[in-house]
Amino acid sequence: MPDTITDRVPHAPDTLAITLTVNGVERTLNLAPWTTLLDTLRLHLDLTGTKKGCDHGQCGACTVLVDGKRINSCLSLAVMQEGKEITTVEGLARGEQLHPMQEAFIEHDAFQCGYCTPGQICSAVGLLSEGKAKSADDVRELMSGNICRCGAYPNIVAAIEQVLGGDRR
């Protein structure tokens, strides 16, 4: 018999208890170690604001902030994120007060279907703290990891520039 995958069936892995801090709240979960941060957020914490657009790190829809830095949550396992501050789109507003980036996205109509939007906004918030974007061209380049199939790019750039401009003042 050839060595097929059937001959090597391992059992489903055991689960581990892990503690994550998401949007300032500590949560302890029992997870299989192969669970991505993205699926943990969406399926185990019911934080479905973070989107799955490819599961391959190719589209940016799953962007979240880890210790303020933007990452693709589909390319990270939840077990790798213990002890870190994870911020998702649900954690950007302060109560009823939207984050200025969220306000700017609404004002500039920087989305249509809204599916890439949480990733765009988290990515844009990450971009602000990186301090690298000095021009509209910089914004375009540094936001190119977040695909928007509706093609709202000009409005996304306008929204981010508005917030960047506010920061400069």
Partner: protein, 758 residues
Amino acid sequence: MIAKPTFPDLLHAPGAQIGKPVSRVDGRLKVTGAAKYAGEFNVPGLLHGYIVSSTIAKGRITRIDTSAALKVPGVVQVFTHENRPSLAWFDRKWKDQDAPKGSPFRPLHDDRIVHSLQPVALVIAESLELARYGARLVEVEYEAEPHQTDLHANRENTFTPGKDKGGFEPPPPPRGDADKALADADVTVDLEFTQAAEYHNPMEMHASTVLYGEDGTLTVHDKTQGALNSQTYICNVFNLSKSQVRVVSPFVGGAFGSGLRPQHQLFMAVLAATELKRSVRVELSRPQMFSFGHRPETIQRVALGASKDGTLQAIIHEAVQESSQFENYVEIVVNWSGQQYRCDNVRLDYKLSRLDLHTPLDQRAPGAATGVPALEIAMDELAYKLGMDPVELRLKNYTDIDPNSGNPFSSKELRACFRQGAERFGWSGRKLEPRSMREGRELIGWGMAAGVWDAMQGQANARAVLGLDGKLTVASATADIGTGTYTVMTQIAAEVLGLPIEDVTFNLGDSSLPMAPIEGGSWTVSSVGSAVKAVCDMVRGRLVKLAGKMEGSPLGDAAEEDVVFADGHMSLRGDPSKRVAIVEVMRASGTQSIEEEARSIPYYLKRSKHAFGTHSAIFAEVRVDEDLGTVRVTRVVSAIAAGRIINPKTARSQILGAVVWGMGMGLEEEAMLDHRLGRVMNHDLAEYHVPVNADVHDIDVIFVEEHDDVVNPLGAKGVGEIGIVGVPAALSNAIFHATGVRVRDLPITVDKIRKGMR
């Protein structure tokens, strides 16, 4: 600019809502992550499905072994053609509102494989990870048969389809003698165009979550452009009654046509839920998003003949497209070529070639997006042969009558699009000669094209409920796939009843709501918007009657046309001091609410005597690196004539997005098949290129004023498709102007430009 009002009250009232750049009413939900899409409804005990896809393009399954998968603790069941339940037999039961002629694909039907990536098994498990793992353990053996997936190798192996799909008429019979006129013409071009297949790839992958009720009823969260379409499909295929199935889709993460037909994840999720009596979600992976409908690959010939002054003497447009072995997908790409210009000798021909691929599927501006660029590149080439400005050539052959039908257009402000677009772009300074502009290493080119799309309307219903508190809820089972339906319907309702936007709620995406057709073809504002207007007009009539019955009514017995609705008040036309608040009328009436339901039907009689279309002129600037052949699209001006614009903010976004789609079609998007395997090889978002932020620069959108009181009661035509049509041609023409290289094979990638430059 906004189109003129069609009705006296609309737009004249203070606080008018139509024509206002209102921000999306669902915006807050979308920027906070609160908007829930089909794959985001979580319930305790939800099962997860993962699909196993075929690795061959044609043949049969000889053995399918699910035992290893089933051994994994947490894997609940594996469905294949061998253990699926008995389902609907007749083809008509599997048809949906967008099905073409033929036998719709039936997932897990039998051992036959008809295309690569065909779903062959569904693994159901307690978690997504286990389902995915289980899917890897399913062993499938195939007996492969020779397949045909190459359109070019099969371009002669064709047939002529009939009226095989709704919304598309076969080409009209020839006018005059186009072949003779072409042979006799002073100046001719005779060109072949090719275009790769494109996949919709909305950001949200297709997903369905089926919630299994204790009483066996199903609540289905589906990614769809028509909740009713999915509901009917499920009921027909699984022999369920409509009362047992409710389909809900309040938010759809893009679709662009991919949600016009129920996709196989819906079938799979319902199959598992009904068999296991559990709630189930099935979500496709990104590679599996290449396993169903797509914009078909196309080969076209466009031949034009003109006299020396540029008058068109002949138009010949022939096209061959792929369809599947089991359905006749048609999008009759050639018809717009008989409509756009005045010409006495026209021959249009459209054929299909059957390939071992899944049936194609409408994608943004189906047909026109493919056919119009071929015509518009040919027009540019003709302009060069004539030594004539490309805008002049189009104006020379302009028509206000649709030559295909002989009917006048209900409105067609394409001249204004050319004029205003050219002015905004600065076209008048253009030298005809290619390679006449450069900056450093970059060659600069300016190109233009015209675009056209239909202005269709279907029947639709809407319900309105006005409460004692003066708040209005309007509903229809339509969809908002990012198009702005929530917002524009809210505006229309607010406008008719003179209410603030905040006092109006519009509900959609639910099969329990009044009937609306699938959302596609840019007909939703026209169809559903007209129903919303109609039902709000009925509420308005009721309010006028109730106001007349009030003691000491300030409106007296005024007729409906003498009452103005604005700012939550009703007042007498001519004497605004005579006014009463709508809430006061409601309170005085003793009723709890006013409820109405209306059906809007197109003006069939008027429609039969007119042709309908949206039109555009696109001007583009490209910069091409002389050494590398890379293209940057630095400026685009898109001037649109689409009747009255309900919301210039969301309408502009539609056009911006469609221009980006045109850039994708023109420069990037291409399903690359390995014909040895009969399979799309670049089936993910790293290899299938779509425009990213850095690809997109200035896009300027102009809405020209266009008045139309024939098209529908709103005078609005819809803007979902028109923005893409013609864009690839404007880019190709601009690249020629920059480099002197003509590329008639979309997408125009670096290799093709470099080949021409050598």
